[in-house]
Structures are given as structure tokens and as C-alpha cells.
Amino acid sequence: MKMTSCDFDVIVVGGGCAGLWAAACSADEGASTLLLEKASEVGDRVVCAEGVGARGLRSVIEPSSEWIAATIDGARLYAPDGKWYEIEQPGCGFVLRKDRFILGLAEIAAKRGVEIRTSAFGSLVSLADDHISIEACVDGCREQLRARALIAADGIRCEISRRAGILGSLQVNEIFSCAQDTVSGISVDTHFVEFHFGRRIAPGGYAWVFPKGRDRANVGVGIVFDTRQSDCASEYLARFKIERCPESSIERAIVGGVPSVSNPFEGYGRGIFAAGDAARVADPISGAGIVPALESGAIAGRAAAAYSRGRLSLRASEEAYRSELRHLWRDRTLRFAIRRIMMRASDSDLCRLLARSAEFFAGGNRLDGDPIGLVRFLIRAMPDVFRVVKHLVKV
């Protein structure tokens, strides 16, 4: 069969960390790669709490000091009954300057040969057997481009994958609805992140304070829809801020959603590979998305490049994408089950859970370590709450 000529081997739609890293990895594999970002600059529309585990980030890329707003030495967990627990682990995480981080990734991608076009909105036009057509709208001018493979890194809306019929809609309980203000004039310990739990503060989720300097922080709330609640995330955030930082002033306000699904391995088909929030890969317990975005970006980039360069058939590249994701998140079912427990837990159960978790970490276990150890401990310590996940892990 005669192959249609293409403008690029791989086109990436979306210039967030998943898209940029996917493009960099695709170019690294020898594929001619174009990235389309709808904002006027990459890193222009950061919608993120910016917290990341040091070990996870370093497993993908060594962070530059320019990207870091604060180095984190531990976490403080606030229970609904007012008690709080401090878990100290020097250097366990970072609060990033995400705009600089994304610029750093863009520099790496450009050095590897990725062509980056900003103010460029990419939308799917057609899917053929051997190529994909994309319409790129740059400053009002429309251009039709063809590529052998497409990486959809267009965020939670995942318009490309949905239009192609690869992904469907989410259930209301599969998404954290979030609101966050970057505030100044807040009293914070610059080396500790705070997590506040309780149905009054954040039903089904938690509130966070991530320091970004001596008196600056990202203060946010993520909730999961519950029939008992009528308020939205921004209302919970306003109330939380009255308690936590009444004197602070808002520098920037953002809202958004974090997908939380048990099976994020289906974001592929017909030459399209999803990455980041578009693949719904965020951690179902914490909602952390930066490292999963980078990891899924690398997997999508390698698979798309292998297919587009003819090293693998479409079927084999899709299988490689799926199996690499499954291997990376082999404990995903367990994590999702724990999220459901936490979502439904009463305030008294949350108090016990936090107290027991603090005991576990006081025993020398690391915050960014394997979560299975904590789950085993909790199953033994709170069998009444954790019995539903007992079959998923060897105690």
C-alpha cells in the first residue's frame, strides 16, 4: 500500500508538561515532531498546585534550581478534630515555579529538534488508515497538517480523544473539583506543606497550603461531588481562607478539575496517544499530576515515534503504550479503592486514619515511599475501614 506523505511524523497538541515531555521523547526517538500550544507562550496558563515529590520528579528529570519555589522537608496533616501531625522528611518534595519548569521543558524539547508553535490551536479534522489530519489555527490563519501519529495532551477537556471516540465523559465522582488562590500575606512554614481534611473543609478531598516563599503560598481546595453538599469548590476555599489566612491578598485565582479514574490505560486508538490529564493519569488518592504527566508523556512520545517511524505496527505501538502504563501504575486499582474509602470516610474515621498514618511515618517510613506499606499497616490497624481493600494487597 502506498503511504500518504505527511508534514510531520508526530504532532503534539498541548504545551503543558505532558505535551512538552512527550514531544521531547518523540524527537529523541528520531521522529520529526511539531507541538501546537494555544497560549501565546508555553507556561502561560498554569493551572496547578505546583507540588511534586522529589523522588518522582528526579526519576524523570533532574530539576534545575530555577524551577523551584520551595524545597519541602515534610508535611503537616490537619485532622477534622483539630489535631495535627507533623511528618518530617528533609528534601522530600518541591513546590515548583511551574511556568519556569514548563519553559525549561520547552528548551529541552526545542534542543531535541521539536518545532514549537504558540498561539496555535489544534483540532482534529480526520483520521485515515495511515495518517491523521489536524487543523492548526495560528493567529486566525488556518492550516491543515498531516502526521502519522498524534499525541493528545490537551488537558482535562481531552477534546481530541473525545472527538476521535477514544475516551468518553467522566462520572461526577471521578473528578476533583478544585479552586486555588495564590496568596501573599500568609503565615507559612516555607519548608512544610499542609493538608487539611474533613467534610466541613473539603468533602471527599482536602484543602492544601503549598508555600512559595516567606509569605506566599498556593492555597486550594479539592472536593468530590456529594449529594449532601450544595456548595462549590470556590465557596469551600473562601471559608477555608477565612480560617487559615484571613489577612492574605489574592495574587492569582484559578479553578479546574483533576481526573481520578481507576483505569487510565485506554487513551489510545487510530494513531492517537493521550498523555497527562488528557489520559486521566493523575494519582487517584492525592490528585498529584506532574510526575504522571511526565511519565505518560514519555510513554506516549516513544510509542508515537515508534509507530510513525515504522519501527512498530500501529497495534504493537498501542500495546506498548498500554502495557507500559499498566506496568507503571500496577497498584492503580488499590489506589482508586483507597480514594473511595477516603471519599466516603466520616470525620471520625478520617481522624483515626490520620493518627495511624502519622504513627506509620514516625516509624521511619518515607512520605514518597511505596504506598503499599502504608496500606498494609492501615489494614492491620483499622480493619473495619480498610476491609474492602484487603483482597487487593497481601497483608
Binding site: 482535562i156 477537556r157 465523559s169 473539583s177 462549590c232 469548590a233 470556590s234 484559578i254 478539575g257
Partner: protein, 68 residues
């Protein structure tokens, strides 16, 4: 006017929204939500009134008295 009031007459409804976070569209069962300049447009001819968009909106815009 609210979303439910408008739904009785069908057509489409536009809600002022400068956030464009995409949360409403990703839970929409009917795929009837699109984004325009500073607003969310809901095609009520296709809307199945699941109201998931109302439930997940982080700022509580949809369903309020804030129609364009």
C-alpha cells in the same frame, strides 16, 4: 432565568464564564457543552439534563442566574 427555565424552551443557552476550566464539558453526558469567547454554551436540544455540569462547576456558575 435559570438553566432549568431555559430548558423548557430548548434552543441553546450561554453562561458567562471566563474560567474555561473544562470541568463541565468533561462530565457532560450528552456532549452538549462548548466554549465561546468568555462563555459556556449549552445546546439544550441535546442536553439530557443530567445536571452534572451544575454539580462539578468549581465556581458554581452553571444553573445560577447568570445567563448571557
Amino acid at each position: 432565568m435559570t438553566l432549568l427555565d431555559d430548558a423548557r424552551h430548548a434552543g441553546s443557552v450561554r453562561v458567562k464564564c471566563n474560567w474555561a476550566c473544562g470541568v463541565c464539558s468533561v462530565v457532560c453526558k450528552a456532549g452538549c457543552i462548548t466554549y465561546g469567547e468568555g462563555c459556556v454554551e449549552i445546546d439544550l436540544d441535546r442536553c439530557v439534563l443530567c445536571l452534572f455540569c451544575v454539580r462539578v462547576c468549581p465556581v458554581g456558575l452553571i444553573g445560577e442566574n447568570d445567563l448571557v
